[in-house]
């Protein structure tokens, strides 16, 4: 099979992007494969193209419904109609209709929780599955806001299929790769890695002495340099605070976090995409599924809890290939702050026992968790492990998880403090060597004044204020 010809015919490209062809070949050879490709490097092609060659359907397990819908929409737009998304939001009749004709679809996207639906399993058994894809596979080993116990159950589900498994992820260190292999029960997977280096991003790490200094630094920076940009903070309160300060200074900025009304969150994201906002100050709730290629700056005003999380957030900058700047502001107390946040999701022994007791009395799980003082994330984790282990074992698991988290934080701290080239450090963390450093590498290697950065030519879009009925006329006619 001439892959090049197929690429041209189906997708209209003359060349593969780095890494794609290798992954496709492994898949066609029916080998399990973990593909680590930076976001925006055409991960979906790695399963779409084999799908046209292999018999049967491709099953794609995707963690975020919005992301899934997005991919389905993209594929339909490109002319592939045999694609469907199955998730728990579908109505019963709609789902039944799709399930009854499942074999007609070449590409079947499902959310992890669908896998535990019995009817889905039964229907899937009836059709031929050529390839199973796990998107955003790093979610499997993450213990954080996007922890998805459903993802951990995928392995149990997959063990009854012989189809090759392709795990896709943008960032994966050796621990994550081990977790992916283990939890997905993969069979000696080939690790296909494309360099995670993003030469167009320059890194700066700046040590300051107080939160006040951070605020001043950010204010000055934002007034003098270009957006669009994201400021990542450790708390909702801080995100709000910064947005407020900067609004006062005339910056088009809004804060974004899970404490905002849902509609407001969607509005803020849309304004940012349309350049009505130049900056967003946000918790880590902001970013997944945000397709904006011209983000010029990412500023961390807190210490991310892992290098992987840091890199993922930084990676949202400069997707268009043009230069972008990543800055991390650091004060000594940040370490304690981040450590505290990590541990706050972790239920302690008395909370856990209290919770388990209430459950055994038949009380409502959410209410019990609240009474025991557990966070939502904490509850999700505990629920998953309680299903499989005794209480004492769960306590042990909690200890292990929390020790792992501390280790990850140590590594992040080391990155910040070591005074070694940031790019080299980040890459070595992912088992890569840095072969070639760009001119604007990092603050340790030395950064000249970045001229593009002070170019404030970005035009802010401002809409005139119109009356209510005029606005409705503008919208609908």
């Amino acid at each position: 099979m001439d892959l090049q010809a197929l690429l041209k015919e189906r997708f209209g490209y003359s060349h593969f992007r780095p890494g794609q062809e290798e992954v496709i070949k492994h898949v066609l050879n029916k080998r399990d494969c973990i593909a680590i490709l930076p976001t925006g490097m055409g991960k979906s092609l790695c399963y779409q193209l084999p799908g046209y060659i292999m018999p049967g359907s491709v099953l794609i397990i995707s963690p975020l419904v919005s992301l899934m819908e997005d991919q389905v929409m993209q594929m339909r737009k490109n002319g592939e109609k045999r694609v469907v998304a199955l998730n728990s939001f579908l109505s019963f009749t709609e789902r039944s209709r799709i399930l009854a004709s499942l074999g007609n679809y070449k590409f079947i996207f499902v959310s992890p929780e669908m896998l535990s639906h019995k009817s889905f399993g039964l229907h899937l058994k009836k059709i031929e599955i050529g390839l199973i894809v796990i998107d955003e596979a790093h979610c499997i080993s993450q213990w954080g806001f996007d922890f998805r116990p459903d993802y951990l159950r995928i392995g149990e589900f997959l063990s009854s299929y012989n189809s090759p498994i392709l795990a896709l992820t943008a960032t994966a260190d050796s621990k994550v790769i081990n977790d992916i292999t283990r939890y997905l029960k993969m069979n000696e997977p080939i690790i296909q890695r494309h360099s995670l280096d993003r030469p167009n991003i320059s890194y700066s790490i700046i040590q300051l002495n107080s939160t006040l200094e951070k605020t001043d630094w950010i204010k000055e920076r934002i007034l003098q340099t270009t957006g669009p940009g994201i400021i990542y903070t450790s708390s909702r309160k801080r995100a709000d605070e910064l947005a407020f300060e900067l609004q006062e200074a005339g910056v088009a900025i809004q804060s974004y976090h899970a404490g905002k009304e849902q509609d407001d969150r969607a509005i803020i994201q849309e304004q940012f995409l349309n350049n009505e906002l130049e900056w967003i100050s946000a918790t880590n709730a902001f970013g997944m599924g945000v397709h904006k290629s011209d983000i010029r700056q990412v500023i961390h005003e807190h210490l991310p809890s892992t290098i992987a999380a840091y890199l993922q957030e930084v990676g949202r900058a400069g997707r268009d290939g043009r230069p972008a700047a990543a800055t991390l502001l650091y004060i000594p107390v940040d370490e304690r702050m981040t450590s505290f946040i990590i541990q706050s999701d972790r239920p302690d022994e008395s909370q856990l026992r209290h919770y388990a007791n209430m459950l055994s009395e038949g009380r409502d799980p959410s209410e019990s968790a609240e009474l025991a003082g557990m966070t939502d994330t904490g509850k999700r984790i505990v629920d998953y492990y309680l299903e499989r282990h005794t209480l004492d074992e769960v306590l042990e698991v909690m200890d292990t998880l929390s020790a792992e988290k501390e280790t990850e934080l140590r590594k992040m701290l080391h990155l910040v403090r070591s005074e070694q080239c940031v790019r080299e450090m980040v890459l070595s963390y992912f088992g890569e060597q840095c072969n070639e450093k760009p001119e604007a590498c990092c603050s340790i290697c030395g950064l000249e004044v970045l001229e593009w950065l002070t170019d404030k030519s970005l035009k802010k879009k401002t809409n005139e204020l119109v009356s209510w009925d005029e606005r409705i006329t503008n919208l609908l006619g």
Binding site: K77, K260, A266, I267, E270, D469, R471, I472, T473
Partner: protein, 345 residues
């Protein structure tokens, strides 16, 4: 109207017999026995659940301001208006919420309108690809079905929706400020909606006031569009928004067993729930059903005796009433107070 005037209004209604937190639970629409009962006792149905995500800190700040202005006093147990607060509360126009009927579902109504408007706005200008401003899958699927087969690219279609929407907004009797907020919560091609913060600074108001005005405008719009002939599009958007059953799911299950003749004890056993939970459910049922057979639990004479005592003492506090009626349980007393409203009306 803003959060502090709403709070003053609630505290006035609660008559010094509840803690400050009772107001928070009420605004958030907490479905606990106590809150559901308060709603009934103190005639606060319109404000139930108008702000499900109300931030505790914001609530506390608002209350602190009222305390600082000497409009209310609050100790660990109770919260009441001062004389000054009593005068102040007379100046407020009664808010026109219908929280009991909509319980946060009004946002689904608006979400459907917003997504439909966005869709039409893009299609009529020749563009079929956009980021849906509503992430909720249920809303997306609803709008997809709503607009299926409609002439989205036909300018006449958009115009018709536009006119219907304007007519409904005018008819609803909402203020111009509310119309402005409503229109600016809509997104379309080249016109992104504004956040509550942004609207607050444009209108020289507070985000919470903007939020409350917006919710109130939806509560005023919803009854208007109940007529499908005058408002074919908006009527469809309002499908299934008003609550059918005023009972919580759990209470509904208890009701089924109760209607089949199970005793409270049996229900508690069958459902593996504590007796106090079943009691809460019974209270909830009595609150929501005028024909609830209260006399199965307490005699007419007892009811009369308790109600007149309550009136005589000028209180609905269970503890005080319990002192007077030692032989009655708290449950029985609560049940009796629930019937009170029939005495009122």
């Amino acid at each position: 109207m803003d959060l502090s005037s709403i709070l003053l209004f609630i505290i006035n209604k609660m008559n010094g017999e509840r803690t400050l937190n009772a107001g928070l639970h009420l605004l958030r629409g907490k479905k606990s026995g106590q809150t559901l009962q308060d709603v009934e006792y103190f005639d606060l149905k319109p404000l139930f659940g108008i702000w499900p995500k109300l931030d505790e800190v914001l609530y506390q700040q608002t209350a602190d301001e009222l305390i600082n202005k000497a409009l209310i006093t609050s100790d660990e147990k109770f919260c009441r208006l001062t004389e000054k607060g009593g005068v102040e509360v007379q100046h407020f126009q009664l808010p026109r919420f219908k929280g009991w009927d909509y319980r946060g579902r009004e946002k689904v109504f608006f979400g459907r309108i917003a997504l439909a408007v966005q869709t039409i706005s893009y299609f009529r200008t020749g563009s079929t690809s956009f980021n849906p401003i509503q992430r909720d899958r249920e809303i997306q699927l609803f709008v997809k079905r709503l607009l299926e087969g409609k002439p989205l690219t036909d300018p006449k279609f958009g115009k018709r929706i536009s006119e219907e929407l304007k007519r409904a907004l005018v008819t609803s009797g909402i203020s111009d400020r509310q119309k402005y907020i409503f229109a600016n919560r809509l997104t379309g091609r080249g016109e992104t909606a504004k956040t509550y913060d942004q609207l607050a600074s444009e209108l020289d108001s507070s985000p919470s006031a903007v939020y409350l005005l917006f919710i109130e405008s939806l509560h005023m719009l919803l009854p208007v569009v109940e007529n499908p002939e005058n408002y074919p599009f908006l009527n469809k958007c309002a499908f299934d928004i008003k609550v059918h059953s005023y009972l919580t799911d759990s209470a509904l299950r208890t009701k089924k067993l109760f209607d089949q003749g199970y005793s409270m004890k049996d229900i508690s056993k069958t459902r593996n729930l504590k007796m106090s939970t079943i009691e809460d459910h019974i209270i909830e049922m009595a609150t929501n059903d005028e024909r609830f057979p209260v006399t199965h639990f307490v005699s007419k004479d007892t009811i009369q005796a308790v109600l007149s005592k309550s009136e005589e003492m000028g209180t609905k506090r269970l503890k005080l009433l319990k002192n007077e009626f030692q032989m009655l349980s708290y449950f029985e007393l609560r049940l009796i107070l629930t019937v009170n409203r029939e005495g009122d009306s």
